[in-house]
Symmetry: C2
Subunit: 283 residues, 2 copies
């Protein structure tokens, strides 16, 4: 596995693959790899002739007071994992390489960026779109792999790709869960054993939503109320949002008569966790 | 010359050239071609193995109340001109093709977009950056040609190219002037013969600035004052701005001890005209 940290070197490396009839797959990450990332990496390696993973903790997608400084990092471990998975190239740029002095350009997907997580993280998706567009220009992949856990991110990036006429096929893979159902996340390392137990409420409430729909409930308001109750009975938990929305434009749905995204963000102590599920009501 | 109006067709056409060892040149225009455009087109044809021109009156770069509807258009004449110049491919998309329903993505180069022309046209450069980025993704050129008349546009696009890690060499060619010195512009067609005479004041005042610097004047304030007087003595003219700024960050310079951009925007009747010159003080 090649490890490259300069953009120029990366572009030169990537150029060779443009003109051969080979598919290039890409998994952008912020490192501290877990089973969620690995499900993306494995699919990428399997479905591409050449696979690229990036590790870059992107400062532009963290707000003031968020955990940019504390975000967990372990490059040695990450690079060994990726080597063992058969990844061909690891891109590992510095902040100065990605955002040199005088950097001024940002990409925004209007209105989608302000919904769900965008309400409490107003600059987050601008940072995500900007860094992903830069990485796409540098890596020039045919396909890129993202996790369903960041569902809003995937919706926004798909819109960006379409709007800006990029040639990248964005693939979204299912959420990977620990035993008990907690969605795996680099931020789970922040949790105490007790908080980790409290965090199970996120998935439990999503299961509850699915059960209610299976039993015929269609009113979003009723489903959200039960989910809320379930989570609020846990003293460590504080709800940021629980929403039931359209899977494409992320607008709230008052009734579940179509495929719907049930999404939530909950603080467990100081740790903000997200989770979601897509519910396809029958009949 | 091929004429293509679908993005998909254009991308397929362009793909063939990626992998041959040939340079592709690109001139994006809003049509109604004049000698200014033609200087870009000729350089592009001369310096590229394959030359692409686009004609698209980009609604996103016009503000409310500006001249999007009235902007002059003559596709028959334009396409004949380009054919005669030896252009290989003309891209001529519709608004719906470029901004389909649900379009949401915009690119901005912060702070540069609010200077000079950005003060009276707050969304203009967002529209320019967005359409140029889309066109770059569609055409995928090695080099693109722009005119110095839109100096701020060139500065902003260069910044965008660098920031977003694009592989396009942006070439800026000198302003083409009519006899008497008026910078050629599609908007000159709006002028009455009398207004056209009044419009000569723009270039005359730039020449005056150059003369003052040649004679040793270095204070921007003094130069701007004389330029202002020169233009204001013409009753048809109303100044939007006259500025002397750094050629890269567009910040005002109080003294001309380095290369400086002298730029101005002036309304002649209802027609807003821009012009500029770069002054390199000696010693």
């Amino acid at each position: 596995m090649k490890i490259i940290s300069s953009i120029e070197d990366m572009k030169n490396e990537m150029r060779e693959f443009r003109c051969q009839n080979k598919t290039k797959g890409f998994v952008p990450t912020m490192g501290y790899l877990h089973e969620g990332h690995l499900s993306l990496v494995r699919e990428c390696v399997k479905k591409s002739d050449y696979s690229v993973v990036s590790i870059f903790v992107n400062p532009a997608q963290f707000g003031p007071g968020e955990d940019f400084e504390d975000y967990p990092r372990d490059f040695q471990r990450d690079s060994e994992i990726l080597r063992n998975e058969g990844v061909d190239c690891l891109f590992y740029p510095s902040n100065e390489e990605m955002y040199p002095q005088g950097y001024k350009t940002y990409v925004q997907v209007y209105d989608l960026k302000n919904k769900l997580c965008g309400r409490s993280r107003p600059h987050h998706f601008t940072g995500v779109c900007t860094v992903v567009l830069k990485l796409f220009h540098i890596v020039n992949p045919h396909q890129a792999f993202f996790g369903q856990k960041d569902f809003q991110q995937a919706v926004i990036l798909k819109r960006m790709i379409r709007d800006l006429n990029l040639d990248v096929n964005l693939r979204v893979l299912p959420i990977v869960r620990e035993e008990g159902g907690l969605a795996v996340s680099s931020r789970n390392t922040y949790l105490t054993p007790e908080q980790r137990k409290a965090a199970l409420r996120l998935y439990q409430s999503l299961q509850e939503a699915q059960r209610m729909v299976d039993q015929g409930e269609r009113k979003s308001q009723n489903i959200i109320q039960i989910m809320k109750k379930n989570i609020e009975s846990e003293p460590e938990a504080q709800i940021d949002y629980i929403k039931i929305v359209d899977t494409e434009n992320l607008d709230p749905l008052s009734e579940l008569n179509q495929d719907a995204l049930v999404a939530l963000a909950v603080f467990i102590g100081k740790v903000r966790l997200i989770d979601n599920t897509i519910i396809k009501p029958e009949g």
